[in-house]
Subunit: 302 residues, 4 copies
């Protein structure tokens, strides 16, 4: 269960008290406020607060470009123009604050995105809960043989069962020992900041994470990508749905220009021009390495 | 006049349309939304949007410290504790977006604070208005003789009058020539991105500036300080009033621990301890340079 | 003259004293250390210090990817791989410190790149020199008619001459008045922090600017681009030459993937695939706006 | 053993090849380059590269303040002045790159300092080594009873022995299972990115970490502090020694103004002034809470 009864009660109370504001309001995001979207087996993402919407992006752009933006007929067109030309500062004018519950090994990937504000649950002060990420068996896969990183084939039922047994038993035992070490029953009890070192990387932690829309979209481009590890991608996908509701025009432009788009090198563009003129271009005469050529063919064949 | 009629009409329309939200609301800041506070002769600061309040800071701190924060009886006490121990991340959970009109030489000091989002009016796209900062004569002062930076005595009436004549005439002439160069009347008209180089640093520009509360307080500590140049201090003072209305408990803690407080070196603390024991401490036996000693005496004599 | 005799003497002394180090050394950049590359009429760029080289980028990448990088045969191949897949952190392991002399209106564009360290000459403490950027007449151009930003046709000789007269006279007069206001001859003398407001945006300032290679390449992609204002592009071009000497493999990859490359949207990729299959695609059946289509045709026709 | 034979051989080879440079050289740091300082039971810190020294800080300050810095007689005095008045930008002109081996729970605290560049060993690509932090028994302490965070009394011999047995056995078993899951002997072998989730937070990781001197000193102020967790403080102490050798004047100023200094609130300063006048000030008439008063007494009694 992603939320404790206490957390749910607090959230329900907050949802029951709409208030008046003069600020920009995103109807799509208001509908999501204080509701937690489940992710993985015990995790969640929920929107705690936000600032701005599609109109606020255009407003900021129009401060910058003044009359220069008059020629663009409407907000959606302006947003597409900004996204296409990498004018990132107007997107920085929107901000979102999320409450996320996630396994520690996912948190360690996530925190590498530095342009964000974070308040994480502290296991120096407080005791972590007995909650561990145990993958569904369809997500248990072998090391990829073609890619030095990432997963290949799904494990067979027997092998998957062995893995799940290990993960469950080790997590349970580690937590039992964590509790035994901090217990003050008949002993002093080890400090929490030390005892936590016995816990495995699939235990859940929580944080408040706040970032601006430009940096959020950059995060999503990397983490909602097919090459990202499945577990962080599950969070990125949930956040994509949130962003679509929050700033629909920006999200549509992001899908077209970033998620669905591709960057081609000068060498690749040259090949493309030759191909469009009818020339037969192969890896051998392309000027690309085998790896690059394979990726290039992937892009132009879709 | 700080706001154009168009700007005022847009603001009035926005103020007339309160909407419902489930987000945290700061009543003090709602009262200020869309009202421009005049600064200097043509400048202003106005709040465009905000996220969070004192309660949101405590909420984020309690996520981090869990049960550890239960012992602090109330929000104001928790906020004082966080401020005193330099726990900055909870303050980063609040965000504010300001629309500021300011002279370019002030903007150049301001922009050195890098942890913020900015959209500035672009003089490549658009034409700057004929508005220049001309100081009030009581703010015209001589170079300080004791401080290699900053101002000393106010200028005499005659000298002040000469200065004001120069500033007004040069600004007016520079703007006339700016208009003449970009004019397309009987000539091609110089590109705006080039013509702007003729304009002096007291011409006004505008920007949207968005930052979190932690970084804003750091900005205010440096720029609302008595050693800051008067012109940027005028903006910082206006923002201090805004922050007081937005997050009163945080602002009170900031005034006590930062604006009114002082940092003492190990050497200074040693002198202090000797003085409290009744020893006579002088610059000669203090271990401090003359400059440090003068500053130390300033702190302990208040 | 870009460097004062004092500055030149100091630089010559530094160049005369090579020392031993165990650090990574870039021979290409050592040859440039302490030599100033002239930019515009009075500006310059010179390398003050640097950290790392192409090998240091690979070393950092190999810490991250361990055995995963063994399959890439050599450093140049690894660097191309990192650049192609937007693995930016290894490039952040190189750092460079530049001393730049530049007009204030260029400095104002430059400073918008926030991920850098800056120490600028302070006109609060010190007196600015009488040096202004006066464009060569071939760089005086009209406002573009097709682009709301940027330059179009070069001005005619007569109009250019009028512009140059204005720029020279206004700058000279503004500086005469600046000197008159701060003079302590028979008067108190206006504080420098105030007098500077009379100086136009084409006066030169100086700064030390330090950034990592990843952020520097991002700066160059935007500022060495054909759409950047000529005056900042002149600096970016000078820095491109420096980077080529410093990290030749990284610079070659940057030229291929960034400067010479292009990002295509999902819509554009779809058009491309149809074209490669022999279908006739026009703006009308492309799903793109006229502006996007024009840019797309520009990319595929080269 | 903190370094593998391969790593040591590579380091020895690098130390054997001094090269010439025109850059600023810190003799103190050259003596440390490529030598690893052991930290905890299997960790280390070693300097990989650096940029700048005390003189470079002064050089940057003198660019900013021009003649304003002439009055300060020497570099050490200027550095003290900069540190005392929080002029941070000159310290940002120095940069250092460290190679650190550290337990994951320490890495998680460390990474919260966001203004740095990081390349961490990736357990998606590579296999982690069987090395875990097992505390020395004198560092095993109970949860503090006066502080909701941190450690109190050292554990008794019996309790310590029980804790050490748990930590050693659980780490060993978790690593055995990690190896069993990724093994491709008679099974497909679980992907590394998944298997790592079974490993506890005391396993060692490695990274390259690069930051500027200003941000490094901020890190050290927080992490070399008596309130920091012992395990990260061990790293901070090792880095303090490195910084002392690198920039001795800056480090001396840092010790005086930051590590040994204290920040007093307006309320505390008021109490101090009353005490210096001979008034008896107690917690009751101080205006401070009990917690603040206790900290205040700690500062003035030393």
């Amino acid at each position: 269960m992603p939320l404790s009864p206490d957390q749910q009660a607090e959230i329900d109370a907050q949802r029951a008290q709409p208030r008046q504001t003069l600020r920009t309001v995103s109807e799509g995001l208001e509908a999501r406020l204080y509701t937690a979207t489940p992710v993985l087996d015990h995790g969640f993402v929920r929107v705690v607060d936000y600032m701005g919407d599609d109109a606020a992006i255009c407003q900021a752009a129009r401060v910058s470009y003044g009359r220069g933006t008059k020629s663009v007929s409407n907000d959606a067109g302006l947003i597409r123009y900004l996204m296409r030309h990498w004018h990132s500062t107007p997107f920085e004018m929107c901000e979102i604050k999320l409450h996320v519950k996630l396994p520690i090994f996912v948190a360690r990937q996530w925190i590498r995105h530095r342009t964000a504000n974070v308040n994480e649950y502290s296991a120096r002060y407080s005791i972590l809960d007995r909650e561990f990420y145990i993958p569904a068996s369809e997500h248990l896969a072998a090391q990829s043989t073609t890619n030095s990183q990432g997963r290949g084939e799904t494990l067979s039922g027997d092998e998957a069962a062995r893995v799940l047994d290990i993960l469950r038993e080790d997590a349970g035992r580690a937590y039992d020992h964590y509790e035994a070490m901090i217990s003050q029953d008949g002993q002093a009890g080890l400090a929490r900041e030390l005892a936590r070192m016995n816990l495995p990387a699939n235990i859940y932690t929580q944080w408040y994470w706040k970032t601006d829309l430009h940096n959020l979209l950059h995060f999503l481009r990397l983490r909602a990508d097919a090459h990202a590890q499945y577990e962080i991608r599950a969070y990125a996908d949930a956040i994509c749905d949130i962003v679509r509701d929050w700033v629909p025009a920006s999200y549509a432009a992001f899908e077209d220009y970033r998620m669905g788009g591709a960057t081609l090198s000068a060498t690749a563009l040259d090949c493309l021009r030759r191909m469009l003129k009818g020339e037969e271009v192969t890896q051998e005469n392309s000027g690309m390495s085998k790896g690059e050529w394979r990726e290039f063919v992937g892009v132009i064949e879709g």
